[in-house]
């Protein structure tokens, strides 16, 4: 059982002062094995904070990130899964599922994690699974009118990944979960 935290689009301090306190109290150091971050932190203080939750931090560049050295895309393997990471402002039209599917084929990954729309989504298509953890601070978005703070926790166990999404709605944290299974250990999708 490997726990992977996926979050992004915090936009601190441009659009939000900090993560919601209820989220901060849940993100305790030592419980999570990897963090994948879709970008737009935007400042070093947030980077350092994420590192305290888990030292294995993978991050890609959002268009407002202060640090220009983050890569545009990243791929990594966790257990039986290949994961791809990209902020998403590079994929046009923004939020378009078919365009994202193209990126997934290009990166050749089972799970593609992207952001930019500040809208949680998790869906399965021919090429695999696309997950958008939304905005962890509920930051303003020109794309999405109604943003709730959200993040995703993935529990990777063998060929199965359970995606838990945590959303802060009207002051309460609501959890939902979605199951995905991959057919075999081959690198391509089911």
């Amino acid at each position: 059982m490997v726990l992977v935290l996926a979050l992004g689009d915090l936009h601190v301090p441009h659009r939000a002062a900090d993560l919601p306190p209820k989220f901060k109290s849940m993100l305790v150091p030592g419980k999570i094995q990897h963090i994948i971050c879709t970008g737009n932190l935007c400042i070093k203080e947030i980077h350092d904070y994420l590192k305290t939750i888990c030292p294995d931090l993978h991050i890609v560049r959002g268009e407002f990130d202060e640090d220009a050295r983050y890569p545009d895309t990243k791929t990594l393997t966790i257990g039986q899964f290949k994961l791809g990471l990209c902020h998403g402002h590079q994929v046009i039209p923004w939020g378009d599922l078919d365009s994202l599917a193209m990126l997934q084929r290009q990166l050749d990954v089972d799970i593609l994690v992207t952001g930019h729309t500040h809208q949680f989504t998790a869906y399965k298509h021919e090429g695999g699974v696309v997950i958008n953890p939304g905005s962890a601070t509920g930051a303003y978005s020109s794309i999405n009118q109604d943003v709730n703070p959200s993040f995703v926790l993935m529990d990777i166990d063998g060929l199965r990944v359970v995606v838990y999404v945590y959303e802060l709605i009207d002051g309460e944290v609501k959890v939902d979960k979605i199951d995905f299974k991959k057919a075999s250990t081959s690198t391509s999708a089911p």
């Binding site: 407002f64 046009i92 923004w94 078919d98 050749d108």
Partner: protein, 790 residues
């Protein structure tokens, strides 16, 4: 060595005491009164020594007084056997020396206090008078100490079994007061014994003995019958009289503190005038602030622990008395350093916060008093004082946990003026952190102004400080990020008020200078965009003033983001223009949106020269433009045409190719039929393909075996064709796709390695779509002949 001698003498004296005590005990055991007295007198004779230091004398004294206990018991038994006090007194007179005689008289006298022969009053009076015969400070102190000790459990006090009426109480009171007065006089006299160069040593020795004097106050505190009236009318005035008149710094300091600690808090509250009135009469060298702070602390704790007592504070007007007293002290002691006077005000402030937390006017008064005090000194350079002021300013912050309350204190910013620049900024950060921690909302434009007044050290450069090269880069960033975070707490649900707030924030932030603006403008912009969105959702207010419309806010934003391009933050400015354009789009404000795009394009053309930056900027332009619905055909065409132009002129060919094929999306929008221009889409894709061909040629020419990079471009194009095929673009034919696929295959064959997984996954996807059962998709895919892929 003197110390060794001291030890030697003590050893000798102790031995003598022991020996005499032994004989005394033997005499007691054989009921020999005469001998008991003889040996006890001899024993006590050792206490006549002048050779010992106070510390050593104390040890000897303890020894001797211990032994006297058995003598005391013996006397009690003797009286039981019928010997009268007069007789015992008579016998004792035969002791040769005064000191031993007095010790014995005290011992006997204390035993007779309970007897019916003589009244307690007379005995006590006699004893306290008789002790005057010993005027040597050290010996006299210990003698009187013994007197106090031996009579203690015979006075009517808490814990003793002695009862009495009011008269007895007053007699006991008088006795203790007198003993105290005499002991203090002796103690003070010690200061003046011996040469001046040994002053420090004497003070140290006196300090060791101070509890002997203080004990009397403890006893007073325990006496029955010392209620508030007696305390106020007799006890306190008498004690204070001695304290003031002795004119001794050490004694005054210690005894004032003793009074405060020993007697109950509500006594102090009711006699506050008297107590405070004594303070200016004390020696100038006395550390008044410790005394006053001790008093205020006790009273604060009293208020905190018993709510019923709170009205009393108001009734005696404790606050103004203390405020006044401090004022007098500060006035009188001209040399008082700034840190000391601030400390005094700090304690008064804490007192006020504890006792009168609902009286903001009191709190403001204290702040004001501090300001008047500081105005004499000007801006502080003293670290210690600065620390105290920070503590002073933090106290109300921590008490109220609500910066909005702090904003009501008119003197608060005035105090901050006296901090040096660095401490001022540090204090501003503390205030901001209080807001962040407590989630405080600052909800009116005026409060926003007051807030920025408090943190002005962060907002702009201090006068006269032109360059900031001494400031650490990281620290500066953190400071400005704090200000940025603050902006999100300046908020009101009402769009009109929020509008005003936005204008005010802007006014303050724009004074910040080129280093601050790129960090502080973005949060303002987004706060304003959120307002625009809310305005859009609400009803039009026909009576609202000009500032509360989306147009006005967006206009303000144009002027604000402009500033960023003046300070070389062009990439940021471009992104912000695009964000504003989207907001204008959502408000159906076509001209405004077009204006934003124009500004963004100009920045792109004139300011963004770095290739990587261009690629990203262009991607954002295309992405934003693709979502715009507010433009008419003409405007849309102009903007799209420009974007495609920029795409074709990017420096690196692969970047060109990608940007151009992304432009295809500009000609296809899902929502309306008139936004779908199939031909133009294909034109874009074909144009992109030409660029990809050029890339391929260069690669083939330079290396022989082609790199996989350019084949990847073809595969990307293939995917794009598939995208538009699926969306139903009639111009995307099976043949187009086939020929592209053919091209990919032949290029891949040339290369040693394939384009790898991208092709494989694309093919797999195509096959998957072909097999789709819903007909529509597979129909489209049937058009493509896929035989050549093995």
């Amino acid at each position: 060595m003197i110390a060794d001698d001291d030890e030697k003498w003590l050893a000798a004296a102790t031995a003598a005491v022991k020996q005499n005590a032994f004989y005394m005990q033997r005499a007691i055991d054989s009921n020999n009164l005469k001998d008991a007295l003889k040996f006890s007198a001899q024993m006590l004779g050792e206490l006549r020594t002048s050779k010992l230091s106070p510390h050593k004398y104390y040890e000897l004294y303890i020894r001797a007084s211990d032994e006297l206990r058995s003598l005391e018991m013996f006397f009690r038994d003797e009286t039981a056997l019928g010997c009268s006090i007069a007789e015992l007194y008579e016998l004792v007179q035969h002791a040769g020396n005064i000191l031993p005689r007095l010790y014995l008289l005290c011992t006997i006298g204390s035993v007779y206090i309970k007897s019916k022969d003589v009244t307690a009053k007379d005995i006590l009076k006699d004893l306290v008078e008789m002790c005057r015969a010993v005027q040597h400070p050290l010996r006299g102190l210990f003698l009187r100490s013994y007197l106090a000790q031996v009579t203690r459990d015979k006075l009517p006090s808490i814990g003793s079994e002695v009862e009495g009426d009011t008269e007895t109480h007053m007699d006991a009171l008088e006795f203790v007061l007198q003993n105290f007065t005499e002991m203090n006089k002796l103690w003070v006299r010690m200061q003046h014994q011996g040469p001046t160069r040994e002053k420090e040593k004497r003070e140290k020795e006196r300090n060791e003995l101070r509890d002997l004097v203080g004990k009397n106050l403890h006893i007073l505190g325990q006496l029955e019958g010392v209620d508030l009236v007696v305390y106020r009318d007799t006890v306190l005035p008498r004690i204070l009289e001695q304290v003031v008149n002795c004119k001794d710094e050490l004694a005054q300091c210690y005894l004032m503190d003793c009074i405060i600690q020993v007697f109950p808090d509500d006594f102090h509250l009711q006699t506050l005038d008297v107590l405070l009135g004594a303070c200016p009469q004390l020696q100038p060298s006395v550390d008044i602030k410790t005394v006053l702070s001790g008093l205020m602390e006790r009273l604060s704790n009293y208020a905190a622990s018993s709510v019923e007592a709170l009205p009393n504070f108001l009734q005696v007007d404790a606050f103004s008395k203390l405020n006044h007293a401090i004022g007098k002290v500060v006035e009188a002691q001209v040399d008082l350093p700034a840190s000391a006077s601030v400390t005094l005000y700090l304690f008064l402030l804490k007192f006020t916060l504890h006792v009168h937390s609902d009286r903001l006017d009191y709190v403001d008064q204290v702040l004001g008093s501090c300001v008047s005090q500081l105005s004499a000194t000007g801006k502080l350079c003293d670290d210690k004082a600065s620390k105290q002021i920070v503590a002073f300013l933090s106290a109300p912050l921590e008490k109220f946990n609500d910066v909005v309350t702090i904003l009501k204190l008119t003197n608060y910013p005035r105090v901050m003026e006296y901090l040096d620049n660095d401490t001022n900024k540090a204090m501003a950060i503390i205030i901001i952190q209080s807001i962040l921690k407590n989630d405080t909302r600052i909800a009116t434009a005026d409060e926003v102004d007051a807030m920025f007044e408090l943190i002005k050290g962060l907002i702009k450069d201090f006068d006269g400080l032109a360059d900031n090269d001494e400031i650490d880069e990281e620290d500066f960033q953190e400071e400005q990020n704090s200000v940025a975070r603050l902006v999100h707490f300046l908020y009101n649900d009402d769009p009109e008020e929020m509008s005003k707030i936005i204008f005010r924030i802007r006014k303050h932030i724009l004074t910040g200078g080129p280093k601050r603006l790129p960090l502080t403008i973005p949060p303002l912009v987004f706060s304003a965009l959120k307002l625009v969105r809310r305005m859009r959702g609400g009803d039009e207010n026909p009576f609202g003033d000009d500032t509360s419309t989306p147009q006005k806010i967006l206009q303000l934003l144009t002027e604000t983001v402009e500033v960023l391009s003046d300070v070389s933050a062009s990439e940021l400015a471009l992104r912000l223009y695009l964000q504003c354009a989207q907001a204008a789009n959502d408000c159906e404000l076509e001209t405004v949106a077009y204006e934003f795009f124009t500004k963004a394009y100009l920045l792109y053309e004139e300011e963004i020269s770095d290739s990587k930056a261009q690629v990203t900027a262009l991607r954002l332009i295309i992405g934003t433009l693709q979502r715009m619905r507010v433009f008419n055909v003409e405007n849309r065409d102009i903007l799209t045409h420009k974007a495609t132009g920029y795409s074709a002129k990017l420096l690196k060919k692969p970047d060109q190719c990608r940007a151009v094929y992304e432009c295809a999306h500009l000609y296809w929008a899902e929502e309306g039929e008139n936004l779908k221009d199939g031909e133009r889409v294909v034109l874009c894709l074909k144009r992109a393909q030409k660029i990809a061909d050029a890339v391929q040629k260069m690669a083939n020419a330079s290396r022989g075996a082609s790199s996989t990079g350019s084949v990847s471009l073809y595969v990307e194009l293939l995917n794009k064709y598939l995208y538009f095929l699926e969306k139903g673009n009639p111009q995307v034919t099976g043949e187009t796709i086939q020929s592209l696929a053919e091209l990919i295959r032949s290029e891949t064959k040339k290369a040693e390695s394939g384009a790898g997984t991208f092709i494989t996954s694309t093919l797999r996807y195509m096959e998957f779509q072909r097999q789709q059962e819903d007909g529509g998709m597979s129909e489209k895919y049937q058009k493509i002949k896929m035989e050549w892929f093995e």
